[in-house]
Amino acid sequence: MPTKKNSIKSTVSFGLDSFGDLPVDENGKLMTHAAAIRQVIDEAVLADKLGIDAIALGEHHRSDFAISSPETVLAGIATRTKNIKLASGVTVLSSDDPVRVFERFATLDALSSGRAQVILGRGSFTESFPLFGYDLKDYDVLFEEKIELFAELLKEKPVTWSGTTRAALDKADVFPKTESGKIETFVGVGGSPQSVVRAARYDFPLMLAIIGGSPDRFVPYVDLYKHAAAEFGTSAATIGMHSPGFIADTDAEAAKIAWPAHKTNFDRIGRTRGWPPMAREHFDAEIANGSLYIGSPETVAQKIAASIKTLGVNRFDLVYGGGPMPASARMHMIELYGKKVIPRVRELLGETKRDKL
């Protein structure tokens, strides 16, 4: 990657993010977990053909999402695609073993000839903690220790490390080694200032998860990241954001398809957390002023371009297919994103021709 130290890359990369939500088929029937996984692979193949820069798959451990093991799905995608970056979004490092995470992503990197990306996060869903035998009360120390170990592993040299959350390592050499010598690793942040500082300290690119409200409120986080990086002597070269959305031929069509799916998703999660059902007014307000990128290609492109300018980010990932949405509508959305939205955003940003990343 032609990334210069201390300079933001001049062109923006665009990604698609999925958690493997179960889509509905042409008869309105909810697809199986297995079919939903194959659907994501077909979507990634299409995204690759359209020249979309990245696909990021997040891990969940609950019935409404099919993906619990993103790197396995990414491995499937790797063998059928050429250029698209293959990212997790996020890997819940706190409830995983950093050595295993390294091994799996180094393997993915080999399968894809260097296209693996890890996005580490604390995760906003925490089903993985009881599932793998971790206590949520150790949330902070688990993340802090494991990110430290992961940063050591990324150097691809024998690692000596000790902490309180896993067995110590004494000159442990971990394989496979990557061809480039480094797996690209981001830190996903949902609003914890300490996570921003941590990302800067380890020289990890930042991925801001902006899933509600106006993106403006993240401007101070971008400032914090840059200043922290300056203080630590790291690069702050890549700052990304991800937000949910959906694209159809017209604004009305997009809202018509996205509303019931989004509401189903939101209300189901709300039942476990104690928030009331979503009102249509809230949905419309998020589209107008918040963080739902829903509408026609022109509407969505305008909104994405505005956010990229406001925050000064150089990667934008659209979280697509939230809730039980028709599989065909998801495919059409990806086509519109690749063919219309991304070129239009580049035009709005004054990027006439993009450099190869």
């Binding site: 925490t126 949902g190 609003g191 300490q194 509600g212 409200g213 106006s214 101070p220 957390r273």
Partner: protein, 211 residues
Amino acid sequence: MTIGILGAGKLGTVLAQLALRAGYTVYIAGSGDPAKIAMSIKYITPGATAVTAREAIKRADIVILALPLSKYRNIPTDVLSGKLVIDSMNYWWEVDGMDPAIAQPPSSSSEMVQNFLPDSRVVKALSHMGYHHLIDEAKPKNTSGRKAIAITGDNMEDNQKVAKFVDDLGFDPTIVGPLALGKLLEPGYALFGANVDKETLLATIKKDRKS
């Protein structure tokens, strides 16, 4: 007027931003050494000062609790004696872990906090609206469509003081009753997450109290 905020996470920093914007002096404390949060505070809430929890409390006219509810027993009670305290906390299992003792206390969670702080004056406020709505929806007084913040507390004079603060921050203060009624603002109730105007808020409370 000086505000001391305990908790430098998502809610604590948003409340600090709003209080600074309204002209208050703000001290903010994380869970440990202030040096750990100094850099974040400098850029996320410029103008606020990162200090220890004890220091933030000592300097404050109003103390805001914006830490995970499961940490409430770590609050230094001695320095809080006699202080006006706004409880903005909720049980949130994603942060607090599964803990029936705080998830379903026999009273409202704010009464539980008040019992832990017998010499302080606890008022529940700024607890039901999501932090991104707090920052996006704050509006000057008399703006049409201004959103409401519910307030519960056992002492009317303290409720009025908190109401003035909420008004300054950019919301229509809506005193709905004693601390026990704070239950209706907690997760699982209709007002949790509510980002509505005063009229809708009062109508929802009325409906909730009947059921």
